[in-house]
Symmetry: C2
Amino acid sequence: MSAVTLKDVADAAGVSVATVSRALSVPDRVATATRERIQAIAKELGYRPSRVAQRLRTTDGVNHLIGVLIPDIQNPFFADIVRGVEAVAHRAGYSVLFHNVEEDPDRQRAALEALRTEHVDGVILPPVHGASEDIAALQADGLPVVCVDRRLVAEVDTVVAANEEAAREAVALLLRGGHRRIGMIGGDAAISTSRERLAGYRRAHEDAGLEVDATLIAEADGRMEGGRAAAAALLSRGDRPTALFTANNLMTLGALSAIHASGLRIPEDVAIVGYDDMPWAMALNPPLTAVRQPGEEMGRIAADLLLARIEAPDRAPTLTVLQPSLVVRRSCGSCG
Amino acid sequence: MSAVTLKDVADAAGVSVATVSRALSVPDRVATATRERIQAIAKELGYRPSRVAQRLRTTDGVNHLIGVLIPDIQNPFFADIVRGVEAVAHRAGYSVLFHNVEEDPDRQRAALEALRTEHVDGVILPPVHGASEDIAALQADGLPVVCVDRRLVAEVDTVVAANEEAAREAVALLLRGGHRRIGMIGGDAAISTSRERLAGYRRAHEDAGLEVDATLIAEADGRMEGGRAAAAALLSRGDRPTALFTANNLMTLGALSAIHASGLRIPEDVAIVGYDDMPWAMALNPPLTAVRQPGEEMGRIAADLLLARIEAPDRAPTLTVLQPSLVVRRSCGSCG
DNA sequence: CTGAAAGCGCTTACAG
DNA sequence: CTGAAAGCGCTTACAG
């Protein structure tokens, strides 16, 4: 390695390190001639300031480092969020520490601990179940936090989608199409998005003056296999549902594979509307009707918010709610 | 913040910071009683050593930090790689800096620059096109690098899949099924995986004593829309191919949507075999025959390799080739 | 076994 | 406008 340091530049320029430091970061406090000479030499030597050294120096200031925690990087919706966060952070000169926590509170806790020792300026995460205290502890220590996709009880900057409304609209679409027995394949109720999407399902029924058959509601784990098992169980009943609403993209995939395995046709035998409009939705046959969430935008907004809070820690927490949209394709039949 | 420092622990324990440091990291060089007292106090105070300070100290030693560069995080195959890298690195106590470079050599260069200023111990990446010199420069400075998924000319630790063989096998399957006009939708020829998969396509024909119709070979950009456009062009020809081989998962999605749009049936009108066995392959109707690559394992191996090289920089570079497998489902017809 | 001191690469009051 | 010096939180020879 033997990286070029401030001192190397100072020696080459015949000035002190202090002057070099100023020439590079507060140029107007250095005489023009000196500054230009220093800048030329720094460039020639390939000098790059050490972020690590800068970071150690400023216990108070900005460290230009944030952490992002993801519950499950194999879920492409979260990959979208990461993409948005990464783009904003790097453009602003921040580095990004990444942790995949697998929906596991212990791993999330370990990740947060690691981020503290890295002196991050703040963290962005969709909090996993059972994590409120860890987040609260972070905030108590003055570390800015932004929750994205999932809400937390605490007073935290939050960026979410309007889950309940979107789910209600999706289910209403099926109800308008004449469906009266709609299976709901939901995720872990400990997660806010799952609860809100289920609430939307109920609200749609309520709006239409219909009772919900509670046995049509399955709680899966948000992963593909869970969705498959739940759909298979629902579809093997004598009084099987004529439509399915699946509360995230992986469970949708599971449900689709259960439908194909059972030999049922979409939408004639069973209609389906899924949460998350992923790239593969258009590649399905028939193409999937789905709720589109702006994952990347959620990531970008979360990052903007975090950076703003890092620079002004005392602003009041904000809640940003983005509007998903329902993309109607053919899997819901002539339900439009 | 006001994090607890070594000095705080030292004061509370009535010893020097040196002793506290030793008690925590080289326990056997401290008297048992002292050590236990210090450890108890450190725990009570919630002391966490600053990674930043440790990092600054050791220009030579291990910084416990690596960088991972990804060409496109929205491609779930790369998300798998990230998952593998992350798991190994964090288990070994390394932090992971993440960059999404969008197949852009300039962004890759910027990311590598940023990683140097962060004092990373090494970097893992599927190199994007036109990046050889940047990687070489890194190595020249003694920074360990591991290429994953894509090869580079340079002498670098490399973890790839046997692309040519896997592609050959996939195309041979279609040939055995009686197909004689197989469209090839390949990726950017500047990328090793694209070239190797195309080579496999040619080899399969050669093995069968068949000529390749060069007009059946399309070079797309590796993304969904590129795959869609290429497939649409191929399928609109009078002498359209009876089967398609698509060289990555996103282009497969694009091809599928083109097929559905054209009203052709799979596999009766057009068979398809895709590269990358993604979760949605089973959810398709019919399910997709695909080449399965162990993305997560590739990530894990790459990380193991990098950590090994960080600890022993002078080992000779290695090449690890993993064997993909062909998962036969129904999209290729009765080609088994 | 323990401590005082130097040093990692910066930044920033404080002098001049 | 510029420099000497202190300090960020650690680790590690060097003494004792």
